[in-house]
């Protein structure tokens, strides 16, 4: 099990396109991956589902936690936090 925390940096937040990009990146891993909005203390949702990611309503500066459980858990958390930190090409 691996856990990573970071903050949404891109201006528009995790709206439609970034949410889809994020979910499809998550889907490449075998591990079970969840994401949680730490600001609202939301429940953990399936990171491989773009619509679920959308429901967390994450805007710029929202703090988040990514949890992965499985054989490639470490790689998954590393890749997904990097993706968020890179701002989905909006920076």
């Amino acid at each position: 099990m691996a856990i990573g925390e970071t903050m949404v940096v891109n201006k528009t937040g995790l709206h439609a396109r970034p949410a889809a990009t994020f979910a499809s990146a998550a889907a490449k891993f075998k591990s079970k991956i969840t994401i949680k909005n730490l600001d609202t203390d939301s429940k953990e949702v399936n990171a491989k589902s773009a619509v679920s990611v959308l429901t967390l309503g994450m805007s710029q500066n929202t703090k988040i936690r990514i949890t992965a459980d499985g054989e490639d858990a470490d790689d998954a958390v590393a890749a997904l936090t990097t993706l968020i930190d890179a701002g989905f090409g909006e920076l």
Binding site: T12, H15, A16, A20, V51, S52, T55
Partner: protein, 583 residues
């Protein structure tokens, strides 16, 4: 032969087969299923999922080159369709809760739509419209109903529908639509504007058209006379074909005037501009034979998109048009939403009288964020051409002041950011509300120009809802009051040396504009399809005739009388062989 009468909104003629357009409205059966039925319902869902997926793939292939933005939306739809949580949710609702497939799909989508619509972020809230779209597609595939989309007519035909929405216009396959026939919509409805801008003959207001006509049935749409003919004998069909041939010939003759500069027989130059809704090729190509854009309807940009268009998206669309028209003026009308024009992603409160409500500028003054984004985009684009900005729905000098106040704010922001814009942008008003026309001597001092929106001016002046087909006879564009108010307006603007033009539908009606030329108006803007016929009429007109027509019209007391007089006059002008600068 059976004859049906309707209202002509775009003249011309077409003979062809009926293409019945019925948007799919899912009717969902809510039933609990037995254990033994679970497997069947799961299979039904998986099949619908696969079918909807392959529809989306095909559409994306089709739009890949044609319309990249639409393609991106379709790809987002596919992501939603195949979303793990949604699909698993549906499967669980079938296996665990024993809901039938249709109900399971609906419940699952509703759950997510509810969550998303409760979020603070408007960008995310707007996604619910897409989810609803995907939901409907899935339900339709579940019922095995093929997509009846306006973008995939199998062969050229006459489109028969209850009504067309602005969003339908975007996907309309204009090359395959020979004619349009709808149950609803008046002469200035959206369907009418769509039909006119593409030069598609159209008759609206034929009651129960969708039940009367069958898919594939051959009909004659005679939008010269305002009738639709069905079940014709061979002889009747032959006559119709002859009429169609002569109609096409007349259009071709008028077409000879399209590329000529508009000048009256005695040499007075009249500006002929075009009304456009987008930065499409056809709109840009018209630069070759027009004096500019008299009305750039910016709301289409908002309607074609699934969320509020960004400053950048607007900037690039405005820039494209301004660049294409170079030094010729481009009149950009700021967002005109409300009334009959709605944005699916903007939750506007329902009003009892939307045409008298918070529409256009009134809405923009309240939603300053939206207005300012548009103004910033327009100001920045001004560097690329000759931009005129026009505010719709102005009723008083206070409105002008308030709008200009926000322009100043947008300018100040750009100044701070060091973003350049031209200092010679012209600002003007659309004259639709009779009140502003009646104080036009004061308004003319505050603005650089005015353009008359005859559709709404007539609607407000005659107190007639222009969308109500029952009231067509009350909606009198040729009402004597229209000519009186226009004379005063034209006089007041001309006296101050300010530009005054007309961009409503009447601006493209050759008969209607004759007396206006007599009143002193020298600029008219119209749909692409009206340009040639208007230039032909002007080439046959002389100023003495125009002045006389203006005088005569003011002596007439009834709409019918004026209309008959001007129609006869315009036909007489064309008949006379006095056109000295013949092609």
């Amino acid at each position: 032969m059976i004859e049906y009468t309707g209202t002509v909104v775009s003249s011309g003629m077409a003979i062809g087969r009926v293409f019945l357009y019925k948007p799919f409205v899912p009717e969902i059966i809510r039933s609990e299923i037995l254990d033994s039925e679970v497997e069947l319902n799961l299979t039904q869902f998986e099949q619908a999922l696969a079918a909807a997926g392959s529809e989306l793939v095909k559409l994306q292939e089709k739009y890949a080159a044609l319309n990249p933005e639409k393609c991106e939306i379709l790809s987002a739809h596919q992501v939603m369709l195949e979303d793990e949580e949604i699909c698993d949710g549906i499967r669980r609702a079938i296996t665990e809760d024993h809901k039938c497939a249709a109900w399971a799909i609906q419940l699952t989508y509703d759950t997510f739509i509810d969550i998303l619509s409760g979020l603070d972020d408007p960008l995310i809230r707007e996604r619910t419209a897409d989810m609803q779209d995907v939901h409907n597609r899935l339900q339709r595939c579940l019922q095995g109903v093929p997509e009846s989309a306006l973008n995939c007519l199998a062969q050229p035909g006459i489109l028969v529908a209850e009504d067309l929405l602005p969003s339908d216009a975007v996907s309309l396959d204009v090359k395959s639509v020979l004619g349009i026939l709808t149950e609803r919509g008046g002469t200035t409805s959206h369907t009418a504007i769509i039909a006119k801008s593409h030069g598609i003959p159209a008759i609206l207001g034929i009651k129960d058209a969708c039940t009367i006509f069958e898919n594939g049935q051959e009909i004659v749409l005679d939008a010269l006379k305002g009738v639709v003919l069905a079940q014709l004998s061979e002889e009747e069909m032959r006559l119709s074909r002859d009429k169609l041939a002569s109609c096409l010939k007349d259009r071709e003759e008028a077409g000879n005037y399209l590329r000529r500069e508009a000048r009256t027989k005695d040499g007075v130059r009249i500006e002929i501009k075009i009304n456009i809704g987008s930065a499409g090729d056809k709109a840009l190509e018209a630069e070759n034979y027009t004096d500019g854009v008299g009305l750039f309807r910016s709301e289409f940009l908002y309607m074609e998109s699934s969320c509020l268009p960004s400053e950048e998206a607007q900037f690039s669309a405005y820039k494209k048009v301004l660049e294409a028209y170079g030094s010729k003026p481009v009149i950009l009308r700021t967002l005109d939403i409300g009334g009959d024009k709605k944005l699916p992603y903007m939750d506007l409160p329902t009003e009892e009288n939307p045409f008298l409500g918070k529409r256009a500028l009134r809405l923009c003054l309240e939603r300053k964020d939206i207005f300012k984004t548009q103004l910033r985009a327009a100001l920045r684009a001004s560097n690329y051409g000759n931009l005129w900005i026009m505010f719709p729905m102005v009723g008083s000098l206070d409105d002008i002041e308030a709008a200009m106040g926000i322009v100043s704010e947008a300018r100040a922001e750009l100044d701070r950011e060091g973003a350049p814009y031209r200092s010679d942008i012209k600002y003007g008003i659309m004259v639709e509300i009779p009140a502003i026309a009646l104080v036009s001597e004061f308004a003319a001092e505050m603005v650089d120009f005015a353009s008359v929106g005859t559709n709404d001016l007539c609607q407000y002046l005659t107190a007639t809802d222009r969308m109500n087909p029952e009231l067509v006879s009350y909606y009198q564009t040729y009402h004597p009051a229209m000519f009186r108010i226009l004379r005063e307006l034209i006089g007041n603007f001309a006296a101050k040396g300010k530009s005054i033009s007309i961009c409503g539908e009447a601006g493209g009606d050759p008969a209607f504009v004759i007396p206006l030329i007599g009143f002193g108006m020298r600029s008219f803007s119209m749909s692409a399809s009206s340009l040639a016929a208007m230039k032909r009429m002007i080439a046959h007109l002389d100023m003495e005739t125009a002045s006389l027509a203006a005088e005569n019209v003011l002596k007439m007391s009834r709409a019918q009388e004026i209309k008959q007089y001007l129609t006869a006059l315009s036909l007489h002008l064309l008949d006379s062989q006095a056109d000295t600068n013949k092609v």
